[in-house]
Amino acid sequence: MEHTYQYAWVIPLLPLPVIMSMGFGLFLIPTATKNLRRIWAFPSILLLSIAMVFSLHLSIQQINGSSIYQYLWSWTINNDFSLEFGYLVDPLTSIMLILITTVGILVLIYSDDYMSHDEGYLRFFVYISFFNTSMLGLVTSSNLIQIYFFWELVGMCSYLLIGFWFTRPIAASACQKAFVTNRVGDFGLLLGILGFFWITGSLEFRDLFKIANNWIPNNGINSLLTTLCAFLLFLGAVAKSAQFPLHVWLPDAMEGPTPISALIHAATMVAAGIFLLARLLPLFISLPWIMSFISLIGTITLFLGATLALAQRDIKRSLAYSTMSQLGYMMLALGIGSYQAALFHLITHAYSKALLFLGSGSVIHSMEPLVGYSPDKSQNMVLMGGLRKYVPITRTTFLCGTLSLCGIPPLACFWSKDEILSNSWLYSPFFGIIASFTAGLTAFYMFRIYLLTFDGYLRVHFQNYSSTKEGSLYSISLWGKSISKGVNRDFVLSTMKSGVSFFSQNIPKIPANTRNKIGSFSTPFGAKNTFVYPHETGNTMLFPLLILLLFTLFIGSIGIHFDNGVKDNRILELTILSKWLTPSINLFQENSNSSINSYEFLTNAISSVSLAIFGLFIAYIFYGSAYSFFQNLNFQNSLVKKNPKKSFLDEVKKKIYSWSYNRGYIDFFYTRVFILGIRKLAELTHFFDKGVIDGITNGVGLAGFCIGEEIKYVGGGRISSYLFFFLCYVSLFLFFIP
């Protein structure tokens, strides 16, 4: 038993040899390496599976023995300062290890098919395996510096993978944005680490907890400093987990390939912030201010994410905002001290969201031959619809994921979300109201995504036949987009091609004009592929989907508190976990324990489920049955056209949609303030540098030059000029003497 722990360091290092050989192969002998291609995928999956078996073994031992194992090596030798590297195996680590390896393997299998036609297939595998390594390293870290080390490395992997298709300018700016935003968080994390090092003199977690717990209550003067440092640490988690002020990078990060979005930007890396807070919870728990701040940020994020997800057109972006919202739930749970609920939601959300992202990847994959490979089109939900006929398996899995995220009972997320909701009600009604309302919103927007994608009819073809694409586009656009670049581009197109004014296309039924426009719009694909329908994706991609579906169906059982037989092993683990780490912290432990068999649980469940069903229902009314919806909408449109006075409800709806579509205007604000501000600053310093500092130097040089010239002129050696000056001065002298 001990010896397994001794070799636990091998887990993060396992995928490394393949990465190195692939990387060097790609760099030095690209052609030979690229010829091997899919052969390379096999060892990386294999090694990750070994890591998974290993971590399973570890966590079984954790369940049985529940001991914490730590091992350290010294990293730098210095007399009064030593950094150590080591690993720490405890229940939290083992849970994260299992999560990362399982999702990682499934995503690797999936991307073998998804990326198979891509130029950078091997590069993708190098990056993703490297990500796995660093993420595994992150969760096994035993001190803060090590966390920071891997924290940055996963950030870099995310940067590389978002910018994977580097020829796309959008991807290029998205990856830079992600890195810089994360760097703001790292800035806080580093300062927080340094601050805690200064306060406690140690970087080990366990020393830190001991010292912090003994120290903080006694010492009043330093509590401000401690709070500040904790706040800075939290800033790191905010950036990595896409919480409110620093969430802007996550939706843009969807420019990366879809498996990446599933693995990094839904399941694992964005959960690193939650992991960090969970790891440091014994420290944070003694700082009530920070705890309430965390829960506040979590609440803002979960609400904001849900509202922003309402009107996205891009399927991946909507999912990204939903991820943000769910991370907000976890943050809230941590903030109110219900550690177990947060981790539980982390696990269930990871599997459900990975399922959803992989499903959306499958949808995108099947849409690409129809509409083209631009993410503007292939991920656009406006062009989808009715896919349920063509991709039934994907549809089923996607539906399960959706329902799970909405919180429909037998599925995974229901259990965890319900726990968070009830805990937040107990903590403060304010948070409870927002969280429950957002649960309804979640159901609405998730079901909206599902309905727009799979329900109704395929709008790409529909527009080709009946040429009311603009109609549908526009009517969706009322729901999905406000006046934006999409419309503007159409506007430009329409004015160029057929001379239709912008306003005429608002009237949905001008067949001739719109047909012209659509013809021009989709010539390259429309002409060729008029009769192509989406196909179900290959088995390699469906297999991970199905496995994830199983996880989504059954993972919820690990956290169920009923003792009527459903007793997985990991329920023990979770309870052990909470017993070990948070005996005094978990304020709601008794409550949730008491609610195990009680009536309370049922009422909570019923209320949250009814909220979710209400959300589903509204979504169905709005988006559900396609024809009625469009008729209804056209009707509404015409009403809108005819009545200058819109009803109040419409006004509100429009406001909400434009708010949501424009991402809450937060990005605009940041662009205005930070980007332009930094540019101004750069210009200013550049000017200062060139004008003032260099100017002084040049001025000195110039002055020297001038003086030299002057002296040269004066001492030019012309006798006549000497005589002239001499006579001048003599005459002046004579003139002034009398």
């Binding site: 730098t76 030798i77 007399n79 009064d80 700016s173 990856c175 090092f197 200062f688």
Partner: protein, 500 residues
């Protein structure tokens, strides 16, 4: 111990062998190239051999001493000797110079003189790092200038004369103060002039005098390092010089300033350093921010990298100014780490620029498709430069941070403030580096480039890049490689401060 004059041989060999270049037959560049590479390698191997077998790492004192009279009148000795502090710098010099000669292969115009100058620089640098006499130190310092000036003014870009003049005037201006400092230190007190560094350590001065001396030296180093506001020669020089020269400049020449700051100012003038150190730290912090934000405003990407290296020098200054064991170790680590990273970034920028013949960022874009290898290495070294963990820059900066935090000299609030400002630099660095990467490599293919058929890096360039990449990773993963060199020496050096 044998009394073989290892250091004299190391100092004299390159310049002597370099002067033989002119006697080689005029049969194209090939012979000259190979000859120079062979000399550089020989020197490097000799160095490694000497240090392996005749140098005790555990001993923090001066070793391999040599002392012979040169000019009797004012007691000027040819006095050499190294300690672990200079060992690292000498090895870095050997490494970078050898690779820079390899990088200079495309130079064909007047190649004999070019290679001679490079070898002369090699001598000067090793002489500087190993001299134990203040006047010898000064002479070597000046000897350095002439090759750089010539390299710059003969093989530079369009505005080479302007930048060469600027360089020489700046440095010569700094050298005046240096000379004044040397003379002031040598002539003080005793009847006969004494310039032995060993003896000068124990000498003490009145406070005013010490501060004046310190200031004089500081100006000379501030020009070389550079410290703001004396940095404006650097962007011009780096913008115009051939990239092999840039490698030498960024890799070694800038480090001479830091070395001098440690060797002379810290070691010989501890009181003044103790007084000046808060200012050094403040200047360092300002420099990090200032240079980073100036870098962001540059259109020319060579200048952008040049400012980035100015920004990184701020960490060295802070490390030196923190007067702690850790901080000083961090500064030394940063010297080495920036020597590798800065040199390579200039090399990469130079090679990319030679291929495209464009230097303005807004004209560039999408060159990652034709040149994936340069793209890979450029990204890797940018990451190294922005202190990504696992690479040497991260360890250096982290150690400097810890040094500042643990420094007993500063109060809590200033310490927090300075740390905060330094950390803001950590946000600015990726902004300028990544936006440079984005503008150069990402995006669509270029269509308006004068030179359409790009070639990716060949084996020579790849070899060079990998050679530098390995130590960067090595130090990043196991920093003890370098720290073990300097730890003991630094402790001895700082014992002066803690006893007072």
């Amino acid at each position: 111990m044998s009394y073989f004059p290892w250091l004299t041989i190391l100092v004299v060999l390159p310049i002597f062998a370099g002067s033989l270049i002119f006697f080689l037959p005029h049969k194209g560049n090939k012979i000259v190239r190979w000859y120079t590479i062979a000399i550089c390698l020989l020197e490097f191997l000799l160095m490694t051999y000497a240090f392996c077998y005749h140098f005790q790492l555990e001993d923090p004192l001066i070793q391999l001493k040599e002392d012979s009279k040169w000019i009797d009148v004012f007691d000027f000795h040819w006095r050499l000797g190294i300690d672990p502090l200079s060992l690292g710098s000498i090895l870095l010099t050997g490494f970078i110079t050898t690779l820079a000669t390899l990088a200079a292969w495309p130079v064909t115009r007047n190649s004999q003189l070019f290679y001679f100058l490079m070898l002369a620089m090699y001598s000067g640098q090793i002489g500087l790092f190993s001299s134990r006499d203040l006047l010898l130190f000064f002479i070597m310092w000046e000897l350095e200038l002439i090759p750089v000036y010539l390299l710059l003014s003969m093989w530079g870009g369009k505005r080479r004369l302007y930048s060469a003049t600027k360089f020489i005037l700046y440095t010569a201006g700094g050298s005046i103060f240096f000379l004044i400092g040397v003379l002031g230190m040598g002539l003080y007190g005793s009847n006969e002039p004494g310039l032995d560094l060993e003896r000068l350590i124990n000498q003490s001065y009145p406070t005013t005098w010490e501060i004046l001396l310190y200031f004089g030296f500081l100006i000379a180093y501030a020009v070389k390092l550079p410290i703001i506001p004396l940095h404006t020669w650097l962007p011009y020089t780096h913008g115009e010089a051939h990239y092999s020269t840039c490698m030498l400049l960024a890799g070694i020449l800038l480090k001479m300033g830091a070395y001098g700051l440690i060797r002379v100012n810290m070691e010989l003038l501890p009181h003044a350093h103790y007084l000046f150190s808060p200012w050094l730290v403040i200047i360092g912090a300002v420099q990090i921010i200032y240079a980073a934000s100036t870098s962001l405003g540059q259109r020319n990407f060579k200048k952008r990298i040049a400012y980035s290296s100015v920004s990184h020098m701020g960490f060295i200054i802070i490390g030196i100014g923190s007067i702690t064991n850790i901080g000083l170790n961090g500064a030394i680590l940063q010297i080495l780490s920036h020597g590798f990273i800065g040199a390579t970034l200039f090399f990469l920028a130079g090679t990319a620029c030679d291929r495209m013949r464009l230097v303005y960022l807004e004209e560039l874009g999408g060159i990652s498709i034709p040149m994936p290898k340069i793209f890979t290495m450029f990204s890797s070294f940018s990451m190294a430069s922005l202190a990504l963990p696992g690479m040497s820059g991260f360890v250096a900066e982290l150690v400097v941070f810890f040094g500042l935090i643990t420094s007993p000299k500063f109060m809590l609030m200033p310490k927090m403030l300075i740390t905060f400002v330094m950390a803001i630099g950590m946000i600015l660095t990726p902004i300028y580096l990544l936006s440079m990467l984005r503008q150069m490599f990402y995006g669509y293919k270029l269509f308006h480039v004068p030179n359409k058929n790009f070639v990716d890096s060949g084996p020579r360039e790849l070899f060079l890049l990998i050679c530098i990449f390995l130590p960067v990773i090595g130090i990043g993963i196991y920093p003890d490689l370098v720290l073990s060199l300097s730890v003991d020496r630094v402790e001895v050096l700082l014992s002066n401060y803690y006893t007072k």
